[in-house]
């Protein structure tokens, strides 16, 4: 049983769907300190010096296991940079759940910059889920600047689900990936900003090996006076296939800049990008009104579906 206050427990539930300690290996970081840690026979979590992060070793052949490393912060003014390195052996099949929740009731900014590096062995499959969430009534900002680096060896498969729906005032997300032959990367990002929030999301995916492929899709909603930038670049350095897509809804005075880009350095690189930004289609609202919803209910259903 974790000894955490109710606010931290609520944040833990938001970012990692956890009511208590999870099954398998985990490390829960609360206000800059470890609130609980457990390794398993195949997943060994070792803290780096001075509490600056974790080394997580996943032994070759580990299958159907999970590791949770959520972070919660409730101390106003706390700023931290954390390095978590995942060394995933060959032939693994694992789930990694990260995520950060900040509750800031004070007037100083709270900031967590998580730098996650994934070294994915041959033929391994990894599902990575990362949720970011902010709450609290203080004037201090809730700031999250995650950096994700992925290094995929031959025929590995990584699926990343990155979600930031509520409460983060300022975010600068950077994701870089290098793929070897036959490796595949799928990214599904869902982002909603409101108030005066700013979000910058940048991807660079290098398809270095023959037969590698990537599919980077972002769905986002910018409400109120928020501003988002989506900057995704797929680089084909070998016979490969890549696709990037940004699909966005703007509401109120929300603004979005989408910069999907492609670079082909090999004749057999097949790369596609798409971007669409627009308000909710009027006919979608009308359809839901004819089902008896109010306009506000219809908007909510459309947005929830879009970000599901």
């Amino acid at each position: 049983m974790l000894s955490m206050d109710e606010i931290k427990k609520r944040l833990l539930l938001e970012v990692a769907d956890l009511h208590d300690v999870p099954e398998g290996a985990y490390n829960i970081r609360a206000d800059g300190k470890s609130a609980g840690r457990r390794s398993s026979a195949n997943i060994i979590i070792t803290p780096k010096e001075h509490g600056s992060g974790l080394d997580i070793e996943i032994r070759p052949g580990t299958r159907n296991e999970s590791v949770h490393i959520p972070v919660v912060m409730t101390e106003s003014g706390l700023k931290e940079v954390v390095y978590n390195d995942f060394h995933i052996g060959d032939n693994c099949d694992i789930l990694i759940v990260a995520g950060c929740g900040i509750d800031n009731c004070g007037n100083q900014d709270s900031q967590h910059d998580g730098i996650h590096r994934f070294y994915v062995g041959k033929n391994s499959r990894v599902k990575y889920v990362e949720k970011h969430y902010g709450s609290g009534t203080g004037s201090g900002k809730r700031i999250l600047n995650p950096v994700t680096e992925v290094y995929q060896e031959e025929n590995s498969f990584v699926e990343m689900e990155m979600v930031q729906i509520k409460g983060v005032d300022d975010t600068n997300r950077t994701t870089n990936a290098d793929l070897s032959a036959g490796a595949k990367l799928i990214v599904r990002e869902r982002l909603m900003t409101h108030g005066e929030q700013n979000a910058y999301s940048k991807y660079v995916v290098n398809l270095n090996g023959a037969g590698s492929s990537a599919d980077v899709v972002s769905r986002s909603v910018a409400r109120d006076k928020s501003y988002q930038t989506f900057d995704a670049k797929v680089v084909g350095n070998a016979p490969c296939s890549g696709h990037t897509e940004c699909d966005s809804i703007i509401m109120d005075q929300g603004r979005i800049l989408a910069i999907p880009s492609l670079e082909a350095n090999d004749l057999d690189a097949a790369l596609v990008h798409e971007a669409a930004i627009g308000k909710i289609a009027g006919e979608q609202i009308v359809k839901l009104l004819t089902l008896g919803m109010t306009e506000a209910e219809a908007e909510e259903k459309i947005i929830n579906g879009f970000l599901k």
């Binding site: 769905r219 979608q284 009308v286 009104l289 008896g292 459309i302 970000l307």
Partner: protein, 250 residues
């Protein structure tokens, strides 16, 4: 019962007023199925939109079960029991067929099995569709059937269908007629307004009305009307080739 009194509608095009409907008065009694036919561009879809509240008339009144609903919103009319199936159904990214059926019934807890019944009624194999997104991956015909399923799920006192047969294949066309029969049986005193040129849909009507050039040209019971309309563009039979075998309705 729906009653339209002297309903008119116009739009402004190139600074000129263009009359779309003028002085439409008609009644759709409870427990009646009325088919509205007539040439393209005659104002049929506009009339349906006026009843649903999607467009507002410039003059005239709409009464539903004795209540003047002319100034009511789409939502208010829907809640009073008016349901409307779009001629060109809307697509939604991320919203699944199950979600849409739940929205239609107003029950978030509607079971998958109950939702599947509505899909089966429009000839869709429920397990293949219930979790599909209502997006571009669906064909026009699939979308049309899902649209009809949402109206079926509403179980409203008045259901309006704008060319329900457009884009659907022969099998579901036949099923569609059965679906209307079942809807009539399952919702006591329900009435229907169906916009269609199809002879087989005209055949299931209690009353047929012909709208042309923005005014109600003729109306009467099916027996009187059908003999006059057959052979005109207001009552189009299915293709002979289609009648005998596979293919689409023309």
């Amino acid at each position: 019962m729906l009653e339209l009194q002297n309903l008119s509608f116009s739009v402004t095009e190139d600074k000129h007023n263009k009359e779309i409907l003028r002085g439409i008065s008609l009644t759709i009694p409870d427990d009646k199925l009325v088919v509205l036919t007539g040439p393209n561009g005659g104002g049929k879809s506009t009339l349906a939109k006026l009843i649903a509240g999607i467009e507002q008339p410039i003059s005239g009144k709409i009464l539903f079960n004795g209540q003047d609903i002319t100034a009511l919103s789409i939502t208010e009319r829907a809640r009073l029991g008016i349901s409307y199936a779009f001629q060109q159904p809307v697509r939604f990214k991320g919203i699944q067929v199950l979600d849409l059926i739940r929205f239609a019934t107003g029950k978030n807890t509607l079971s998958v099995a109950e939702a599947c019944d509505y899909l089966a009624a429009v000839g869709l194999c429920a397990k293949d569709y219930i979790n599909r997104e209502v997006n571009n991956s669906l064909s026009g015909g699939e979308l049309k059937r899902i649209e009809i399923a949402t109206v079926l799920a509403r179980g409203a006192a008045l259901s309006i269908f704008d060319e329900p047969e457009a884009g659907i294949d022969l099998w579901s066309f036949q099923n569609l007629i059965q679906t209307f029969d079942e809807m009539r049986r399952s919702i006591p005193n329900s009435s229907f307004l169906i916009i269609s040129h199809q002879e087989r849909i005209l055949n299931i009507a209690d009353e047929i009305m012909v709208l042309s050039n923005g005014h109600l040209e003729q109306s009467g019971n099916k027996e009187e009307m059908l003999s006059e309309l057959i052979g005109t563009t207001s009552a189009v039979p299915g293709c002979r080739k289609v009648e005998g075998g596979n293919g689409s309705i023309c």
